[in-house]
């Protein structure tokens, strides 16, 4: 089932007197349980695309239908509620509240939505187990490693069972080993929870975990690579790198 349908997305910015076309007619569809990677050079529009998909910004033209709702036509307040209930975010810099424990950070979206955390004990326990933080749930962010903090961020993004999870360079602030562990988690979440994930990354190794990778340049989708289910990671990586090299020429 399609959880996200973006058609003809365009985004223009005004820089002084100069108009910048950050996105220029992008179409994208994502299904439940699908893990989509977005790659491209700096200035290609990948972060802009992610922001539009997550309702953090509005398109100049085009439409975005998320979980059956056209979010491009909603008011700021309505979009906020969509983000609250239908979208999960994972950022490069974790963005945890330092005064809350790991558990409290994870429950934050529910608290914001006025839900009683006690009613979500089971879900919390399940997610803590999934991200491997059962023993660290009472620790504050300054007591956790970078990898652990990013796992808290992931758990927070998953707690509301959003229609889509958007990740912006989730391994950008992690070392290789931790980054790999994070990517595995994302992958497992997509499979086990039937969670749709869209991830922006400049790291081909991270992108290799996706089911398909979309390549942007100058605000347009210029290529796409879909991987067979059982394709070896090394092969996935090879295809991504090859595509990138071709696009650079």
């Amino acid at each position: 089932m399609k959880v996200l349908q973006a058609e003809g997305l365009a985004k223009q910015y005004l820089l002084g007197k100069h108009v910048v076309n950050a996105l220029d007619g992008v179409d994208l569809e994502v299904e439940n349980g699908e893990f989509v990677g977005i790659m491209g050079p700096s200035g290609s529009g990948k972060s802009t695309l992610l922001h539009l998909l997550g309702g953090l910004d509005g398109p100049t033209s085009g439409s975005i239908v998320l979980d059956g709702q056209n979010v491009s036509k909603l008011t700021d307040r309505e979009v906020t509620f969509v983000r609250r209930r239908n979208v999960g975010f994972v950022f490069q810099f974790f963005n945890l509240l330092p005064t809350l424990s790991a558990e409290e950070n994870i429950l934050l979206p529910l608290i914001i939505d006025g839900k009683k955390p006690k009613e979500y004990k089971e879900r919390l326990a399940e997610i803590l187990k999934r991200v491997g933080l059962e023993d660290r749930s009472q620790h504050r962010p300054d007591q956790l490693s970078g990898g652990e903090q990013q796992r808290v961020a992931l758990a927070r993004a998953l707690i509301t069972r959003p229609a889509i999870l958007l990740a912006d360079e989730p391994t950008g602030n992690l070392d290789t080993k931790t980054g790999t562990a994070m990517m595995r988690l994302l992958c497992e979440s997509a499979k086990d929870l039937d969670q749709a994930i869209v991830m922006v990354t400049h790291d081909p190794k991270a992108a290799a975990y996706a089911d398909r990778v979309v390549f942007l340049r100058d605000g347009k989708i210029v290529d796409e690579v879909a991987f067979e289910i059982n394709l070896e990671p090394a092969m996935r990586l090879h295809r991504i790198i090859t595509t990138l090299e071709r696009l650079e020429r």
Binding site: H51, G54, L56, D57, R77, T80, F81, V82, R83, R84, R85, V87, F89, F91, F93, N95, L97, P98, T99, L100, L108, P109, I111, I112, D113, G114, D142, R156
Partner: protein
């Protein structure tokens, strides 16, 4: 210089709000100190100069030591024979009044009441111009050879009364009206300023005739051989005069007449100075706060400067220079504001004192002193942040998150705080030092108390969070707890902001608490003192016989005569100048009552003793200050040398700042030879209204006696207003302290929000609405307000009790502490309201930051 221009000056103009807050803190402190010092000094100088000016070239005055009764005229020869005396002239003073000049109400001011009227001096017209300047503006001066009853008046006063030179007028004196010929006018300067220009002169023989004192004068005014500027010579001359004339005479400096007024004023002014010090203290908090935040905000920038080669010393110097720059600007602005404020304060002070205060010449020492204090305080407040800035490592340029500010002060400062709290509270409560030392220490000890309270705030944060959890959940929803926890991020900043609120709220509680306690006692006294229904006074002393005449009116049930005289009391071999209020016990208690302090006293027995004579009631102020109890004896100077009187009871009495004893009328006649009346307290006949009683008195006697007749209700209202005006200055300073604290809260929250811009963006991305962001920040501010408000309330009550006890010990004002219940609620509400209002702007600004901008904020 280029570096300074490039870095420091740009930083100042880039961070406009922060710079403005720093400037405002300095401005407030400097303006308060300057305006209060200027007003205080001018008030003192005005009063002293006034008495110096009116006495002309007079160096010393010889009077009766008892201060009532005259001195023989023939002593003049003795005085002139003393070495060192160049000139000596006699003076006889008469209170007088002109028909139609009588005011409709008593003039009330800080020093007491004033019935108005003229003061006339009987002088030697040939000799007096040698010691005082009389500038004739119309007509001529007195002619000693003339037989007519001549009068010379101050021109301005005469013109107000529409009197012309050559006119014959009725002048009401103590012995009735006299027709006098106005022969000339003098300018309203020098001696013409006496009694605010309501002044005139006549020949001495005429004055003696009108007062039935043929061989007496009130004083001899002396000009010394040497110049006035030689105090040692004057001291020696004074000693010679006292030695030659004997104990029954007093030799005083002319300006000393102002001493009593200055003494009465000094207590009030000490309070004002203390409040100015508090304003500076609060201002310095704001400055430290603003500088600390600037350093935090510029951490990465300063780290970058370090990484490109700027030394620690250079960084520290730049921050200090910023302090100097802002300190200088703030001091100048504060000085200008202080000059503006001082004219307003002078106006208010004039009203309170009941006499015009001259603006006085410009006093550069006060201005420079205030500015210097402002700059020094700024530099001191900037010192710690400057050193902290110097310690920033180049790695900070690369750090993604700010470091925690949990340094030594936060981790261990609470121990120092507890020590300071215990020590300062102990000193303030148990007074182990002599009072004069303790009073000077007082301000420092209070600061130590506040500082100690500030240091314990960080370790108590969890307690406060638990305390407010439920109410915040109700008020702010589940985000209330998240908001309140944000105070843990920057504990030093939280500590400073709460402390600023604490001080502001304390000041409000102290001012309202002390005012409340003082006014409670004052109202109790006023109820008794302004007893009866109608007050009857006059510019000219009234005769005792008027009592019977008043009581003959159908509307008057009783008329109680009252007379005030200034006397000397010998206590521990020192002379204390106090007031003696003489009353006729029977009529006085029929009209009003004494308010006895001692609940165990047998009132009937005390009154009987008082009626018999030879005993007095002593005010609670004298009792407290000098440790006088019922049954003790006092030695007072009388015409016959001295008299030992028994203390029959202690009463509530604030006349003459409480330095009053109340005695029997017949004792006054016997001891001081006085039997005229200052005032009658009148009780209206039951069933006859006060208005009707007043009308009867007016119709019967106003014209003949030039009476001032006013209902006591009217006097009470005006006394109440005067009191409120007197205390208003303290209220203003209390409010200013809260305003500064509010700016501190706004500053703190702006910084806090600025640091969390990305985090706020994340929360918005997660679905937090703008309104929820605002609520979260308001919850954070709310906890600041709760901590500052409750601690401020507690310390305010503690300080009020301490100040009242200290005031009682030092001045004798033994005031009962009245719990300022309204002030308690008001202060907590003020703290909460301040914090919420101050948080509103940063909260709204935070909520409006576009989500993307926030997320990508670095």
């Amino acid at each position: 210089m280029r570096l300074t221009r490039l870095i420091t000056v740009r930083s100042i103009f880039t961070r406009r709000l922060r710079s403005f807050l720093t400037l405002f803190g300095i401005l407030l402190g400097v303006a308060s100190i300057y305006s209060i010092n200027y007003t205080n000094q001018n008030a003192f100088r005005s009063i002293s100069r006034f008495f110096e000016g009116t006495s002309g070239r007079v160096d010393l005055e010889v009077r009766n030591a008892v201060n009532v009764g005259g001195i023989p005229l023939d002593r003049l020869d003795t005085i002139l024979a003393i070495e060192g005396v160049k000139d000596a002239v006699p003076v006889l003073k008469l209170p007088a009044a002109l028909p139609g000049e009588t005011p409709t109400e008593m003039d009330l001011n800080f020093f007491g009441t004033n019935a108005g009227g003229l003061i006339l001096y009987g002088i030697d017209p040939l000799k007096d111009p040698d010691v005082r300047d009389y500038r004739i503006t119309q007509g001529r001066f007195l002619d000693p050879a003339s037989d007519e009853k001549q009068l010379v008046l101050v021109e301005e006063y005469a013109q107000d009364q529409e009197i012309e030179v050559g006119q014959t007028i009725n002048v009401l004196t103590v012995n009735g009206p006299v027709r006098m010929n106005v022969v000339g006018f003098i300018a309203k300067e020098g001696v013409g300023l006496t009694n605010l220009g309501k002044f005139g002169v006549m020949t001495l023989p005429l004055a003696q005739e009108l007062t039935n004192r043929p061989d007496e004068v009130d004083q001899f005014d002396i000009v010394a051989d040497s110049s006035n500027s030689d105090p040692a010579f004057l001291d020696a001359l004074r000693a010679s005069l006292l030695s030659e004339l004997g104990e029954e005479y007093a030799v005083v400096y002319p300006a000393s007449q102002g001493d009593r007024m200055n003494q009465m004023l000094s207590g009030y002014q000490i309070g004002l100075n203390f409040m100015a010090g508090i304003a500076l203290f609060v201002g310095s908090f704001l400055i430290y706060n603003a500088f600390s935040m600037t350093v935090v905000e510029r951490t990465r920038e300063l780290g970058l400067l370090r990484s490109v080669g700027m030394t620690r010393r250079q960084i520290t110097s730049q921050v200090l220079f910023e302090g100097l720059f802002l300190g200088g600007l703030g001091a100048i602005a504060g000085a200008l504001m202080g000059i503006a404020m001082s004219s307003g304060l002078m106006g208010l002070m004039s009203q309170i004192l009941g006499q015009p205060l001259n603006a006085g010449e410009f006093q550069p020492d006060i201005l420079i002193g205030s500015m210097a204090i402002g700059m020094v305080v700024t530099l001191l407040a900037a010192l710690l942040p400057a050193f902290q800035a110097g310690k920033i490592s180049p790695l900070e340029a690369l750090r993604l998150r700010g470091k925690s500010d949990d340094g030594w002060l936060i981790r261990y400062g609470w121990m120092v705080g507890i020590i300071l709290l215990v020590l300062s509270a102990g000193i303030l409560i148990w007074n182990p030092f002599p009072y004069d030392v303790q009073f000077r220490l007082g301000s420092v000890t209070v600061f130590a108390l506040f500082f100690g309270a500030m240091l314990i705030i960080p370790v108590t944060l969890k307690f406060w969070q638990c305390l407010v959890r439920l109410p915040f959940h109700i008020l702010f929803g589940p985000l209330g707890e998240i908001g309140s926890r944000n105070l843990e991020r920057a504990k030093k900043r939280t500590m400073l902001t709460c402390a600023a609120l604490l001080v502001g709220v304390s000041m409000i509680v102290v001012t309202t608490g002390m005012t409340g306690s003082f006014t409670a006692d004052l109202y109790a006294w006023m109820d008794a003192y302004i007893g009866g229904d109608v007050f009857v006074g006059a510019a000219v002393p009234l005769t005792y016989e008027l009592k019977d005449e008043l009581e003959s009116l159908p509307g008057v049930e009783h008329a109680a005569p009252v007379r005030y005289i200034e006397i000397e009391w010998i206590h521990d071999e020192k002379i204390e100048k106090i007031s003696f209020m003489a009353v006729e016990p029977t009529s006085y208690t029929a009209v009003t009552r004494f308010v006895f302090e001692d609940s165990d006293l047998d009132v009937d027995q005390a009154l009987d003793e008082f009626k018999q004579g030879g005993s007095v009631f002593v005010s609670s102020v004298i009792s407290e200050k000098f440790k006088i109890q019922t049954g003790d004896t006092l030695r007072i100077k009388t015409l016959e040398n001295e008299q030992t009187v028994k203390v029959a009871g202690i009463i509530l009495d604030f006349y003459n700042q409480g330095l009053t004893v109340t005695g029997n009328w017949s004792d006054m006649e016997r001891w001081f030879g006085v039997n005229d009346v200052t005032t009658f307290f009148v009780k209206a006949t039951s069933g006859v209204g006060v208005t009707e009683t007043i009308r009867q008195i007016k119709d019967g006697y106003q014209e003949n006696y030039q009476l001032i007749i006013e209902s006591n209700q009217s006097i009470r209202k005006r006394a109440d207003l005067l009191m409120r005006q007197t205390f208003s200055m303290f209220d203003v300073l209390g409010v200013l302290a809260v305003m500064v604290a509010a700016l501190g809260v706004m500053n703190t929250l702006s910084m806090s929000v600025s640091e969390r811009t990305r985090e706020i963006g994340m929360l918005r991305s997660m679905g937090m609405t703008r309104f929820q962001i605002i609520r979260m920040i308001l919850a954070e501010a709310g906890l600041l307000g709760i901590i500052g408000g409750i601690l401020g309330l507690g310390f305010g009550i503690l300080l009020t009790r301490i100040f009242l006890a200290a005031m009682g010990a030092m001045s004798g004002y033994d005031l009962e502490f009245v719990m300022p219940v309204k002030a308690m609620w008001f202060s907590v509400v003020v703290a909460l309201a301040t914090s919420q209002l101050a948080a509103l702007f940063p909260a709204i600004r935070a909520s409006r930051t576009p989500v993307l901008t926030a997320i990508h904020y670095e």
